[in-house]
Each structure stands twice: as structure tokens, then as C-alpha cells.
């Protein structure tokens, strides 16, 4: 199937910019609806708030200084932990699944991918409410556990950190599976076969051949899961019972509940800076370490 690799690639270096204008609509869109609002949020993060909310344009760095309060550090730490855990679980569930899909008969692949994406056809909020029904005391999970005699009393599932992580994994698993699927599909099975022929162990085949060659997919999947989960607020609100905050809840809380837009903007920027730093660090690291098969 990866026959597109055989078509003649455009000669590198011949980067005439005759097709640059094709990017114009996209750039315009990004400029108007992404960069401009972002600049505005940045400006607001240095403003002050009025008594009833709203923005008073007096320059201050107080919003960033406020964030040194240990409580904010704790929220950030908790969010990083939830997001990392979600990413790790998504990876361990998603990788085998993506591998299976990419190695299944070609005519089955669209159906399997469709099944992965099916949940997206329903609103996220509705799906989260469905999880509340599944997890609550007289819900499906507890009903099943009780019926099988595994537990005597219903478990506390809803409104716990576990419920939050379940909800996040459920919500973002497809974001992990899709890039991994693309990466595995491009992985040449002959290379895996060659590794076997050279007496590589099962583990060595996985860690030294499969993982390095699917690294772009792994990174893509992890980034796509980590970033939305660290900023999520619906899931912790509904499945966590609004008892603990993730950083997304803090931002929403500052904007919509206490109407402190400047502080909310400052939190948004700190979050963005952390995420960007992590991604940049990773890509620089990845660029410096050559893959095992490069220059073959």
C-alpha cells in the first residue's frame, strides 16, 4: 500500500515560491483568529481587573507574581500528573490497537478506523454524561461488579480522580491511535523480518526497530493527547465533581466565575509556555539523535 513512496518526489532545493500563495488563506485565518486573540490575551495578562470584573488597562505584573502562590503550583503539578498518566495509558492501549489495525487486511482497515472515530460523531459533553451514568453508584460498572460478586458494596467511582483519568483516556484515545496507525502503516514489515532474521529478541525488535521507526507517530500521538488533557475542564468538572481543579478549570474559573480576566490570561500564558517548552525541547532532542537506520 505505501506505493506513494515510489512516485518521483519533487527535487529538493528547487523551492521556488510560486505556490506560496496557496498558504495565504490559511495564514490569514491563523493571523486573524489565532495570533490576534493570542496577542490580546497576552496584553490582558498585564492589565488589572475592575471591581466587578472587566479589564482596567493599568500595566501590572501582579498577575504573574500572584501565580507564585503554592496553591497554583499544586494545581499545575496535579494537571501535569493527570495529563502524563492519561498519555501513558493512552499509549499502552493505543499502540497495540494501532498495530493491529495497520496489520489487518486492507479492506478491514477503514471499518476499524471508523470504529475508533465513531465516538466523535456524538457531542463530547453527551459522552461525558454517559460516563456519569456508567460510573455512578447504581451504574453499569457497579451493577456488573456486584452481580459477579467481585465487590459487596458499590465502589465510589464517580467524582474521584480515577473517574477523571478514565474520562480523559476515553476522550483522547483516538488522538493517540490515529497518528500511531499512520506510523505503523508506513513501517516496512521487511525491516521487522530482517530483525528476526538477525536473531533479535522479541523485546529488541520492539525497542530497536519498531519504536524508533514509529517515533514520529508516537510523538505526535503523545503531544495530541497530552496537550488537550492538561487543559481539559469539562471532564474534571463533571466526572471529578468540581472538587479539585486542573489548570483548565482554573482558567475557566478565573474567566467565568470570579471574572479575573487578567489572572486567567496569565495562567493561560504560563500553561502555553510550559507546553511549548516541552515540545521544543523534545523536537530539538529528536533532531540531534539520529535514528538507528539513518544513513543506511
Amino acid at each position: 500500500m505505501p506505493s506513494h513512496d515510489l512516485s518521483s518526489p519533487p527535487k529538493p532545493g528547487q523551492s521556488s515560491c510560486r505556490s506560496c500563495w496557496l498558504a495565504a488563506p490559511g495564514l490569514l485565518w491563523m493571523g486573524l483568529f489565532f495570533l490576534a486573540p493570542l496577542a490580546l490575551v497576552f496584553a490582558i495578562s498585564f492589565a488589572s481587573r475592575g471591581t466587578y470584573g472587566g479589564i482596567v488597562w493599568e500595566f501590572t505584573a501582579a498577575n504573574y507574581l500572584d501565580l507564585w502562590h503554592p496553591l497554583y503550583g499544586r494545581i499545575l503539578g496535579q494537571s501535569l500528573w493527570y495529563a502524563s498518566l492519561t498519555t501513558a495509558i493512552c499509549f499502552s492501549l493505543g499502540f497495540p490497537l494501532a498495530y493491529m489495525i495497520a496489520r489487518s487486511p486492507a479492506r478491514w482497515q477503514p471499518v476499524l478506523l471508523l470504529l475508533v472515530m465513531l465516538p466523535f460523531w456524538t457531542n463530547f459533553l453527551v459522552r461525558t454524561y454517559a460516563w456519569m451514568i456508567v460510573l455512578r453508584q447504581d451504574g453499569l460498572v457497579n451493577g456488573l461488579l456486584l452481580a459477579l460478586g467481585i465487590v459487596d458494596a458499590p465502589l465510589e467511582l464517580l467524582y474521584t480522580p480515577t473517574a477523571v483519568v478514565i474520562g480523559l483516556v476515553y476522550g483522547y484515545l483516538p488522538f493517540m491511535v490515529l497518528p500511531l496507525y499512520v506510523a505503523v502503516e508506513r513501517l516496512d514489515p521487511l525491516l521487522v523480518e530482517a530483525a528476526w532474521d538477525l536473531y533479535a529478541s522479541r523485546w529488541a525488535v520492539f525497542t530497536q526497530v519498531v519504536v524508533p521507526l514509529t517515533m514520529p507517530g508516537i510523538v505526535g500521538g503523545c503531544v495530541l493527547v497530552f496537550i488537550p488533557s492538561i487543559g481539559s475542564f469539562i471532564t474534571p468538572d463533571l466526572l471529578g465533581g468540581a472538587r479539585s481543579m486542573m489548570i483548565g478549570n482554573l482558567i475557566q474559573h478565573e474567566y467565568l466565575v470570579v471574572r479575573d480576566w487578567p489572572l486567567g490570561s496569565a495562567v493561560s500564558f504560563v500553561l502555553m509556555a510550559i507546553v511549548m517548552a516541552a515540545v521544543v525541547l523534545y523536537y530539538r532532542h529528536a533532531a540531534r539523535t539520529p535514528g538507528p537506520l539513518e544513513g543506511r
Binding site: 471591581t51 466587578y52 497554583y72 456524538t122 457531542n123 455512578r136 467524582y159 499512520v182 466565575v257
Partner: protein, 349 residues
């Protein structure tokens, strides 16, 4: 399976999830009224009746707290015609210049207002607002689990009910309850008092299953919680499904509230907005609203029309002898910063 296929699948998903909402009105040029109200606060059939009667379309958008309503309007959200802020938020919105004066001539149904709601402290001449639904805040509880009827807020700090308590997800209400339990006014602006209230709430937090303003009627009805800090209406709704649910206004006192109909200064359809408000105040319509939502109507004539089980339910219509125990929530001015900070700290811990 090509990348094209993937893209198509994404697109299908994206399109299906944004199918409803937005877009153009299929009926073409009918005038559109934008109604901004609490979640679960309208009877759809009453709205449809108004649409049919006036040949218009009503678009409903919802908020889940007064603060959210204010935040959205402050962010420059325009296009809304009629909104339903509570008492103290009406005061703030008047002060912020967000409201348009009501045209008294087009509100004949205002004459049906309950006497005690005719001149409320936040807008005594009803220049900007007209009371719509009102009631008390109290505790909804399951009498099958809690044998002795509680009469104090202290029950919400009882270790025996750990993990089976829900609190409103509303800063002024939560602080209001704890302040009254401390013998203070719920409109205190004393930093030390608010700090002490926060400490009490932090001690309570491990017992609280969830902070929610939206679906605690279902939590009560399903037995998931046995004590709920609550507006009366949802408790009355839970009673229908689970007859052992009761409602009490603690002896230390609680909130008296009135949600009011207002027209926004930026409303595109001011005339239609007045007709809509007058329609909602029509005794028949108000009575049906009251029956459906199980909140007390501000219309005296509507009270006479609702059936006795609703009228005599203390969760719906606060009994007269309770009124002196209830306190209006007021705009606390700069003091709101103290509540904002304390609420953030409570939720962050």
C-alpha cells in the same frame, strides 16, 4: 486506507457534532428573540406557544451561575434580548449599565405580582427588572436515611454522611450558607469573617461528594447523595421520584432569592422582549411554568392557579412564617474580591 480517507472520516465526525445550533433560521425572515436563562429553566411548550402566537422564533442560551452570566455579558457578548439574573446580580447589572429600562406600559401583567415582591430592595420601582420566580435555599435530605429531621446547617458537617453530601457550585450561596451557620449575615464583607467561613468550608470539603448547581435533583432521587445544599425547586422535583425526600430551611436562616426578567441594553429586539416578558407573567403561563419547574411564581394570580400539592410544598412556595428567617443576597461591592479569592482557594485545595 489513505490519508484522504482519514481526513474524510474526521470531517464526517466534525460535521455531525456541529449539526445543531448556529446557522440561519430555516423559516427565513421571522424575527428572532434571544433568551439567556438558567439551564433547565424553561418549559419548551410554553416557548413554542409564544413562537406560534407572535410568529417569531425564540433562541435559548443558558448559564449556570450569576457570575457566568455577568462574565459573558462583560466579555462583550451581545445579541441577547431577555436575561434572568437573580436579585443581587440585577443590582450589579444596573450599576454596570447593562440593562435597559422596562417599558411599564407594555407590562399589564405586572399588576398580578405578589404584594411582597412588588418593591424589592435592589430595584424598588421595578425600572429595570420584574420578579419572575422566587424561593428559598435550604437542605434537601432523604428522610429514609436521616431519621431525625435536621433543622440546622450543622448537618452538612456531619461525618456520618461523608461522601453523600452535595453543595451548590455557587460561591455566594455556599458562603451564604456557612455565614448564616456562623450567625453572620450572608452579605458580610469582613475579611476575618470570610476567612473563618473559608476554614469551615475547607473542613467540610472531604465530606462533599460534589459541588453542582445543575443535577443534584437526580443525585437526590437516585440516592447518590442524601443531603443536598439546594434551591427548593429541584428538591421538589426529586420528591416526585423519591417520596422520602424532604426539604428544610435551617433555623439559622438562608437565602431568599428572586430571579428577575430584564431587557439588556444591547437587545436588538426590545419591543419583542417586552411582549415576551409580559407573556411569561401571564397568570396561566406563569402557573404552568411554576408547575413544571417547581419554583414559586412571582405572580399572585398564578399561585391561585397551580395545584395544591405544588402550592403547599414548602420547597416550592416558602411558607409565610419562614420569610423572616430568609435574607436577600446583596451586591457586596468591592467585598466580592474577598469571596472570589476565598472561593478559588476552597476549590483549589
Amino acid at each position: 486506507m489513505s490519508l484522504w480517507g482519514l481526513c474524510l472520516l474526521w470531517l464526517a465526525g466534525a460535521l455531525s457534532s456541529c449539526g445543531q445550533g448556529g446557522g440561519s433560521d430555516p423559516a427565513g425572515s421571522r424575527p428572532v428573540l434571544h433568551y439567556f436563562t438558567w439551564s433547565d429553566y424553561v418549559g419548551p411548550e410554553l416557548i413554542q406557544e409564544f413562537e406560534r402566537r407572535e410568529g417569531v422564533k425564540v433562541v435559548i442560551d443558558t448559564f449556570s451561575s450569576n457570575e457566568e452570566l455577568l462574565a459573558k455579558l462583560q466579555s462583550g457578548a451581545t445579541g441577547y434580548d431577555v436575561a434572568v439574573p437573580s436579585d443581587f446580580m440585577v443590582a450589579i447589572m444596573i450599576q454596570q449599565g447593562l440593562l435597559s429600562e422596562l417599558d411599564q406600559q407594555s407590562l399589564p401583567n405586572a399588576s398580578f405580582l405578589e404584594p411582597h415582591l412588588q418593591a424589592l430592595p435592589f430595584d424598588p420601582e421595578r425600572r429595570y427588572s420584574i420578579p419572575y420566580l422566587w424561593g428559598s435555599v435550604g437542605i434537601g435530605y432523604d428522610a429514609a436515611v436521616i431519621p431525625t429531621p435536621p433543622d440546622s446547617w450543622a448537618i452538612l458537617w456531619d461525618e456520618r454522611y461523608k461522601g453523600r453530601i452535595s453543595m451548590l457550585n455557587d460561591q455566594r450561596e455556599v458562603f451564604g450558607a456557612v455565614l448564616r451557620s456562623m450567625g453572620q449575615s450572608m452579605n458580610s464583607t469582613d475579611p476575618q469573617v470570610i476567612e473563618a467561613a473559608k476554614e469551615r468550608l475547607l473542613r467540610q470539603k472531604p465530606l462533599v461528594k460534589t459541588y453542582t448547581s445543575d443535577h443534584y435533583d437526580q443525585l437526590l432521587a437516585s440516592g447518590e447523595v442524601v443531603l443536598a445544599h439546594a434551591w427548593g425547586g429541584p428538591v421538589a422535583r426529586a420528591m416526585v421520584e423519591r417520596p422520602s425526600i424532604r426539604y428544610v430551611v435551617p433555623k439559622e436562616g438562608a437565602t431568599l432569592w428572586a430571579d428577575c426578567l430584564v431587557v439588556l441594553r444591547t437587545a436588538p429586539q426590545k419591543r419583542l422582549a417586552m411582549r415576551f416578558i409580559n407573556y411569561l407573567m401571564e397568570p396561566q403561563v406563569a402557573a404552568r411554568t411554576s408547575e413544571r419547574l417547581r419554583f414559586a411564581s412571582a405572580s399572585r394570580s398564578a399561585r391561585e392557579l397551580v395545584n395544591a400539592s405544588t402550592r403547599d410544598n414548602p420547597a416550592v412556595y416558602p411558607p409565610v412564617d419562614q420569610l423572616d428567617r430568609l435574607e436577600w443576597m446583596k451586591d457586596v461591592g468591592r467585598g466580592i474580591r474577598l469571596y472570589d479569592r476565598a472561593w478559588t482557594e476552597l476549590k483549589m485545595q
